[in-house]
Subunit: 268 residues, 2 copies
């Protein structure tokens, strides 16, 4: 998906919501647990209920891989059900030596037809290059994550005075452009967003951590927005597990609508 | 697998060879390409031919994921064919926030029954903790990798004078012990091995990059060995694609034997 199309979707819907389909068979309503294709049926109902209020869906591969080949099938089927209008993210946090990364790119961009994949920076440029070579596909690099462990390495100070994550933003942003690269910045790191926008003013940011992890949408929007909005704010558990009963889908819809209602105030 | 058992296997065989099953249907002999379960059939022949000369097999998930759910099935079937005596590594380079990493741990340690998984350090301790909680399972952290991109971040100098990868070794080694943690050090980085052994003298190192990537086994053994040998040296393409014809398996066996012959000189 081209950036211009993503920005158009965001402005049309006055929403920059991404719904995270982190579906765990242990946490969905009982009805789905006994169904042979329960995960996909659940996801389809969530997609139908939320698609008018979000512009993107994010599938975290861990939840599907924990079910083996059947989970991989469910991921494939879910991905192909997401409307073409919505930006499809594989939250996979991959990266390997170049030859190997090209197989990951094939898996997620060709086989599964995602628009984007999240990647990790540690192994450097040649581990990311194969993803960047696909036209109209996006590479979303980990920047500053929402978890406690961000302090272990991401916030280390380098000899030149930069923090490691700042160096990652600076360096990686030169490997591509704001037309094929985004960065992950956790919503719990809102205080750093003003600083991050000095380094990468134009890139889109994927922002997890609003909701279950405690981040504030108002803070994220205040410090993180750019003229194209430039944000995809993800909520997973807060939406898909809004209710555990028969009306889980309408409750999910209600929560997605609440997010969208809060988001629309930031549009002129 | 317990460390004592791994060390026993290594001493019995006078080998610390790990065979990388990075199997690509485009690169195997023609015969397998048209078979519905060709990847698994190829892998089984490679395993039968090499198992007497190696102590470990490593499956890089990228190659299997590029084939979709069918690939995931092939990974499962291959993994269950590897003898119990051999140390089974999922080269997956995963890590995510703690809740999510626990699903990866379930996928690779429970569903697929690997002995070990490779992980990436960027997101810090809580992203790795779920892997370390499994008894007799191993977490193999990226340390200093064999690719060009290692220079981008791994070799950055920190304010306290350490290189980033040195800090990763120092910090991560405290999260577990030499009974459940190993580190990836590329064979092309042999000059750094003496230094690495000062930081983590007792841990096993997984060493890719001998063969196709140009690393030297003699250098790796000279600078990297410890009293338990402490090395798993991986060769993938050099073994599994040793020949493209009908006798690919005997050629693979021959190359594995050559590695083992070179390795046995390092045993007393």
């Amino acid at each position: 998906m081209k950036r211009s199309l993503l920005v158009q979707q965001i402005n049309n819907k006055k929403s920059f919501l991404c719904v995270g389909l982190d579906t765990d068979l242990e946490k969905v309503p009982d009805y789905f647990r006994s169904r042979p294709n329960g995960i996909v049926e659940f996801n389809k109902q969530i997609i139908d209920a939320t698609k008018d209020y979000c512009v993107s869906y994010k599938i975290n591969t861990a939840f599907y891989e924990s079910m083996g080949a059947r989970g991989w099938d469910a991921m494939e089927e879910t991905c192909s059900y997401i409307p073409e209008t919505h930006f499809k993210i594989a939250d996979a946090k991959r990266a390997d030596i170049g030859n190997t990364s090209s197989y990951y790119a094939k898996a997620f961009f060709e086989k599964l037809n995602f628009d984007a994949i999240t990647v990790a920076p540690y192994m450097g440029e040649d581990s990311i290059r194969p993803f960047l070579e696909y036209e109209n596909k996006w590479t979303i690099m980990l920047g500053l994550t929402s978890n406690q462990g961000a302090q272990d390495f991401e916030l280390l100070k380098l000899q030149n005075g930069l923090l490691l994550y700042e160096r990652v933003l600076e360096t990686v942003s030169k490997w591509g452009s704001d037309q094929n690269l985004m960065f992950v910045v956790g919503a719990t790191q809102a205080s750093e967003l003003a600083n991050i926008r000095k380094i990468i003013p134009n890139h889109f940011l994927l922002v997890p951590g609003v909701g279950a992890q405690g981040g504030s949408l108002l803070e994220v929007a205040t410090y993180g927005m750019n003229p194209d909005i430039g944000l995809l704010v993800n909520a997973s558990r807060a939406i898909i597990y809004a209710d555990n009963g028969a009306d889980f889908a309408s409750k999910a819809q209600q929560v997605a609508l609440e997010y969208q209602n809060e988001m629309k105030q930031f549009f002129r």
